[in-house]
């Protein structure tokens, strides 16, 4: 019970919100100018394709166990998206995109967080709904957005003297600007069961994701052989046979390094629950996440996955650790004014 229902300083939830919000913006912004093509019903995946894909989902569900139909079975299930309401109207879709960006920006900055958390989750869920792509970046963004929404919906709801506007919309702003907050009932220097619950759910869910992904890798012989990283190092259309053969004199050194890397990934993912909740092993948690960011960005060319993993891992930090980091950040000019003060351990 204490794991889930102990009130926690909301600094962790606030900083995760800020970092995740920046990530949501960095993910959405590059689609400016491509909104119709990527999300429109006259785009790459048009209304007719949606109809045809819906038929395939039904086929896929009935072919479970048939190895020749595996690709149909693994199709991403069709789901809701608020974009479908306006995807046929280019102007409305464009407007929805920019409004979505504005909502996420407000959430990131901490304005009306109860409302903008819910809206940001709707935005992330809607923009990741397309069945055309199915990759871990979308999955991790959806997880982050969902638990942040849970946290901000619950935050402060048991406070009896909360004004109705704040009960409905949340505080404005919640974290980023400290001075206005000092006069608000919902300041960063508070503890909340909701904040703790949301972060605990996020932690458990991420642990399930990492362990499952690690165990899934073991279904492939190249991971057991330590060769899995060889393939992204030498991509088929980015490398020639001669280039690969030129490395042959150092083959054993290469393979040794790559196999150590592959097994380090497996160990980090499968062993994740063993170190994630231990403050003494933060270097393993955050070091692994940081290396993972570099690896996914430069080796696998995935722009969003690395930062999403790192932000997810930061959710394991305790309020004390967050305040320590905040203390380090005060050396940055101007930042001291934005950071919250620590909560005394005896605070209710």
């Amino acid at each position: 019970v204490s794991f889930w229902f102990t009130p926690a300083d909301i600094i962790g939830l606030g900083l995760i919100r800020f970092l995740a919000g920046l990530l949501f913006i960095a993910w959405l912004l590059p689609f400016a100018g491509q909104v119709q093509a990527v999300f429109g019903l006259q785009g790459w995946f048009d209304a007719q394709a949606y109809t045809e894909a819906a038929g395939l989902q039904a086929i896929g569900a009935s072919r479970l166990g048939d190895p020749t139909r595996l690709s149909e079975v693994t199709l991403k299930p069709a789901s809701w998206s608020i974009l479908y309401l306006c995807a046929a109207n280019p102007t409305a879709l464009e407007a929805a995109y920019w409004v979505s960006l504005a909502i996420v920006a407000l959430f990131t900055l901490g304005f009306w967080t109860r409302l903008t958390a819910l809206a940001s989750w709707l935005v992330v869920a809607s923009f990741t709904a397309s069945p055309v792509t199915n990759y871990e970046g979308d999955t991790l963004l959806a997880i982050l957005a969902f638990y942040l929404m849970v946290g901000y919906l619950l935050l402060g709801q048991r406070q009896k003297d909360l004004p109705l506007t704040q009960r409905l919309f949340g505080s404005a702003p919640a974290w980023l600007f400290r001075r206005p907050l000092d006069h608000s009932p919902l300041t960063a220097s508070h503890r909340s069961v909701g904040a703790n619950l949301a972060l605990r759910l996020l932690q458990i869910h991420l642990a399930i994701v990492f362990v499952t992904s690690g165990l899934h890798k073991l279904q492939f012989g190249d991971w057991w052989a330590g060769l899995a990283l060889w393939y992204p190092v030498f991509p088929p259309f980015g490398t020639t046979l001669d280039q690969i053969r030129s490395h042959a004199p150092h083959a054993m050194s290469y393979l040794t390094i790559l196999s150590i890397g592959a097994y380090a990934i497996l160990a980090w993912q499968i062993g994740f629950p063993l170190f994630a909740w231990r403050p003494r092993l933060r270097v393993v948690l955050l070091g692994g996440a940081a290396i993972g960011w570099l690896g996914t960005a430069f080796l696998f060319k995935m722009p969003i996955v690395g930062p999403a993993i790192l932000i997810g891992c930061l959710s394991f930090l305790t309020p004390t650790e967050w305040h320590r980091i905040a203390g380090w950040l005060t050396v940055v000019p101007g930042l001291a004014k934005l950071l919250p003060a620590p909560v005394p351990e005896t605070g209710q």
């Binding site: 019970v1 869920a125 048991r158 869910h205």
Partner: protein
């Protein structure tokens, strides 16, 4: 200054119990989505085979996945495609033509001129075109019902210059003289048609010839081989044919 009054002590017991039940149900739903997944292919006496998910997980996920996780966008099973090492390299070439069949423009996807995020999105889209399906040899002869025709399936046939082309054949006429017969996935056909329609609309073309270029991943064994079979890593071009606007 007002404080959030929420400690374990002042949380009503019913709230803790209700919250605990909700948490447990939520995590069971997430875990069942993970477990309710086909696994494999595993080595069996009948050859490589996928194994079905455990029945209990499938039973739970049939309900929780469909009505709960799917709507929260948390229904993933975390068996990420990127976990499979060595996917083939893929890019698409679309030749847009006018009504008279004259080439208007050739477009390559992923487009190197777009920003990295959109380019990565495009790469993910065309990656969905890459896997072909193995077509099992026909078990016997099929006979069409009265006033009905036999179902045909699209298979890849080697065409001019080694380019694969789609050829529709009745199921009982699937070639038996080849080591393996492959077909494009239904998903890739949907995708190819949709992308072609979009590019035709945007560029005012009447039709689009859709070509998929793939190359198998290189294998580390290349470092230890004296000679590599010529053409082993040649680019394979597969034509989805001419798609109308």
């Amino acid at each position: 200054m007002a404080r959030i009054r929420s400690t374990p002590a002042d949380l009503p017991r019913w709230l803790v119990v209700a919250g605990s039940i909700l948490i447990v149900c939520h995590l069971i739903a997430v875990a069942s989505a993970v477990l309710a997944t086909v696994s494999g292919p595993w080595v069996t006496f009948e050859g490589p085979s996928l194994s079905p998910p455990p029945s209990f997980a499938r039973a739970i996920n049939d309900v929780s996945g469909r009505y709960y996780l799917k709507n929260l966008k948390l229904g993933d099973n975390y068996h990420f495609a990127s976990n499979a090492p060595g996917p083939p390299g893929v890019f698409v070439e679309v030749r847009l033509k006018d009504a008279s069949g004259q080439l208007l423009k050739t477009i390559r996807i992923p487009d190197a001129r777009t920003n990295p995020s959109v380019r990565y999105w495009q790469a993910l889209v065309v990656q969905g075109l890459a896997p072909d399906q193995l077509v099992p040899p026909p078990a016997g002869e099929s006979v069409a019902a009265p006033r009905k025709t036999l179902e045909t399936i699209p298979i890849w046939d080697p065409g001019e210059g080694g380019t694969l082309t789609i050829h529709r054949v009745p199921e009982h006429l699937i070639p038996r003289d080849r080591p393996a017969v492959y077909r494009p996935t239904e998903w890739s056909l949907v995708l190819a048609r949709s992308i072609s329609r979009y590019l035709c609309r945007v560029h005012g073309a009447a039709s689009a010839e859709f070509l998929r270029h793939t190359r198998e991943s290189y294998h580390p064994a290349l470092w230890f081989m004296e000679d590599v079979q010529p053409g082993a890593f040649n680019e394979l071009v597969a034509s989805y044919g001419e798609m109308p606007k």
